[in-house]
């Protein structure tokens, strides 16, 4: 920070304190605020997420579907290449995948489906279909939590026309707060955390909703987990 910015910082802080009718906060009060940050208390959590795990999975599916995501459900990861190929064929989409270099996706035998061609890494502008590793699914609003990291590049969520997110049903939680608690447990705040609810859209032209603005036109979520977890 240069000297000018320092002066401006001092001037702004002085103006705020003048308005608040006090000087800098005394140490005991700063410590209380620091303690509140460290405790980061929750406020109201909507009652709609007070469900057992099977109920949360159903709520996630219902909410994500309402926001125009499509959902598939497989028992285990070995079925993933076939499930993705089937989806792409049905949508008449190209079989070329750019896949997140994440351990859970790298360990899959993609050659099991000979129609698919695969590349691991960040997305390029010309990529049509990406496969991303989902960190959590938030049932409250059918929202995916997609943090950045070496194995989960952000561009996979943005550049391709179609994004496929692979999510373990065990990673479906109720409120946003639960997903952030998991993120805190996993380590420091990642550079980028996207909360994604359905595919990209805009209503800027005459207030008519159109999917596929700048981000993906299609968001396809493949849930992985034993069937007995679902209530239906």
């Amino acid at each position: 920070m240069n000297a000018t910015s320092n002066d401006q910082r001092a001037a702004i802080l002085a103006a705020i304190r003048r308005g608040l009718g006090r000087g800098a906060l005394p140490a005991d009060q700063s410590m209380m605020l620091q303690a509140r940050i460290a405790a980061h208390p929750r406020q109201i959590i909507p009652a709609r997420v007070a469900l057992d795990h099977a109920g949360l999975i159903d709520l996630f599916v219902a909410n994500a579907t309402r926001e125009f995501a499509t959902i598939d459900h497989i028992q285990d990861r070995t079925a993933l290449p076939e499930a993705i190929a089937t989806y792409l064929r049905a949508q008449n989409l190209p079989m070329e995948l750019t896949i997140a270099p994440h351990p859970t996706l790298e360990h899959i035998d993609w050659s099991a489906n000979t129609l698919l061609t695969t590349r691991f890494g960040r997305a390029a502008a010309s990529d049509m279909v990406s496969v991303q590793a989902g960190f959590a699914g938030i049932a409250e609003t059918g929202t995916l939590m997609l943090p950045s990291g070496a194995g989960t590049p952000t561009t996979l969520n943005l550049l391709p026309d179609t994004e496929i997110v692979v999510l373990d049903t065990n990673d479906i939680v109720g409120p946003y707060e639960d997903a952030f608690d998991r993120l805190r447990q996993a380590g420091a705040m990642p550079r980028n955390v996207m909360l994604v609810t359905g595919p990209s859209r805009s209503a800027d032209i005459e207030r008519t909703l159109e999917l596929g603005a700048h981000g993906p036109r299609r968001l396809h979520i493949v849930l992985v987990g034993a069937d007995d977890q679902r209530s239906e």
Partner: protein
């Protein structure tokens, strides 16, 4: 930058005669109110969350100095930089300094009202750096050299013909005989044209809906994904944020997010709510190498401790304007400020000075609808009254405007216009179907009719009422 606020009444006349604008307003009116009402109905905790949201913001403002410093040290610890800027000019120079240091030729931009407030685009262009708006609405406004008319739907005043015309004029590299059969064809063309700009840009500039002190994070909330492309692809990410955007923790932010989208577009959650914390980490395959937050004051620190302090709670959801009978009659441009509607009527004079915008606080019928929908319960009508009184004390109102209550008188003396406004007010209050003329609860004057009946609208009657109201205070 401010354009024509002092000419509010002249602007109103233009707006009323603008058929395209009136068409756009007609289209928006009902959906605005309906979509919010549906979203609110879907969350039983919504009313309680409004109180929570208000409490979080009040707590933050009461300790604003602490949280801004905490935010700054968190950003720095993650390898980012915070540039504290007292004025719009300071902020413009901070952005320019970064752009020049990295040799930027183009900068893509996510939607940012702060950018509008400090007049960044014209300034960058003058300095040889091409700014490119990437939000669909902002993009067409840039092509048309127009100002936004709404804080979240900046181009909602335009009609499909306008989009086609502007795209044909601007995208001359595309076949002239191409057909825009559907609105999605317009959107697809913008997507394709802007994709190249995203990839070529040296700097990406976004706004911020919130800044989190706990983690040194900036948050953007969008539906298109343009803001994310803006902050992910270029080498440098600059965040423009005014200082009241800071919030203590992630949990506090989540409570605010729960009321934001519902109040704004009636969505339960926007498509992309993205948390950015510092530059690219070791091992990351994408993301910017530099992360800067330009933290703007521009008059806000002076609102702390003033009768306008509550305005600092505003989370820019636009619910107040979406439900305002005046806004929905005249549109956003009439206000001559990037901040329009009730929130703009309070904020514009606070930022640009009462002498610049003293007529705006009169642009209210004091129906109170704005306050009843505001997710952080800002007493908007009370603050508009404060401004009006200040203007009177300083004798700023022009002679013709000194009839007491600005817009009320303006509308009251124009019966057709008045009826247009009351019609909007009655549906926006959910009172459609009530017989017009029986103004037991006149939508434009809730405060006055709460304890008394009011006869059908006639200017004189109103003035008498207003005078009595003033005397009895």
């Amino acid at each position: 930058m401010l354009n024509t606020s002092p000419d509010f009444k002249e602007n109103v006349r233009h707006a009323m005669a603008d058929a395209g604008l009136q068409k756009a307003l007609d289209r928006a009116k009902k959906p605005f109110a309906l979509s919010r009402a549906n979203a609110v109905a879907g969350l039983p905790e919504f009313e309680a969350l409004r109180e929570t949201a208000k409490g979080i913001k009040n707590h933050t403002i009461a300790h604003l100095d602490y949280y801004l410093e905490a935010f700054t040290s968190q950003v720095e610890s993650k390898g980012g930089q915070v540039h504290w800027c007292r004025t719009a000019e300071d902020a413009r120079n901070a952005v320019l300094g970064i752009c020049q240091r990295v040799g930027a030729r183009t900068a893509t931009k996510g939607k940012s009202m702060i950018s509008e407030e400090i007049g960044l685009n014209d300034f960058l262009a003058e300095q040889g750096i091409e700014p490119i708006e990437t939000d669909l609405g902002e993009y067409i406004l840039q092509l048309r050299n127009e100002a936004p008319s709404h804080i979240i739907g900046p181009a909602f005043h335009l009609n499909r013909e306008d989009w086609e015309e502007s795209f044909r004029a601007a995208h001359t590299h595309l076949p002239a005989d191409r057909v825009f059969a559907e609105k999605r064809d317009i959107q697809a063309e913008a997507r394709a044209v802007l994709r190249e700009k995203f990839l070529a840009a040296d700097v990406g500039i976004t706004g911020a809906n919130f800044l989190i002190a706990e983690t040194g994070t900036s948050i953007i909330v969008t539906n298109e994904g343009n803001g994310d492309l803006t902050q992910t692809l270029p080498r440098v990410h600059i965040v423009l944020a005014s200082l009241e955007k800071v919030v203590p923790t992630i949990e506090d932010t989540l409570s605010l997010l729960r009321v934001l989208a519902r109040s704004a577009t009636g969505q339960e959650f926007s498509v992309y709510t993205t948390f950015s914390t510092g530059p690219k980490r070791p091992g990351d395959l994408d993301g910017p190498e530099e992360y800067h937050v330009v933290l703007l004051d521009n008059g806000r620190s002076n609102m702390v401790g003033s009768e306008f302090q509550d305005m600092l709670r505003c989370i820019r959801c636009s619910a107040c304007m979406n439900h305002c009978p005046v806004y929905l009659t005249v549109g956003g441009h009439a206000y001559g400020s990037m901040y329009s509607g009730p929130m703009g009527s309070v904020l514009t004079p606070a930022i640009f000075g009462a002498d610049q915008a003293h007529l705006l606080p009169s642009a209210s019928t004091f129906c109170g609808k704005c306050e009843s929908v505001c997710p952080v319960k800002i007493p908007l009508t009370g603050m508009m009254r404060h401004w009006r009184e200040r203007a009177f004390e300083r004798n700023l109102s022009p002679a013709t405007g000194r009839y007491g209550i600005g817009i009320w008188g303006f509308f009251a003396r124009r019966p057709a216009l008045y009826r247009a406004v009351t019609r909007i007010a009655s549906w926006s209050l959910g009172l459609a179907g009530r017989k017009r003329g029986s103004f037991r609860s006149l939508p434009l004057a809730g405060a006055w009719t709460k304890d008394r009946d009011m006869p059908a609208p006639e200017g004189e009657t109103f003035f008498a009422r207003y005078a009595r109201e003033q005397r009895s205070r």
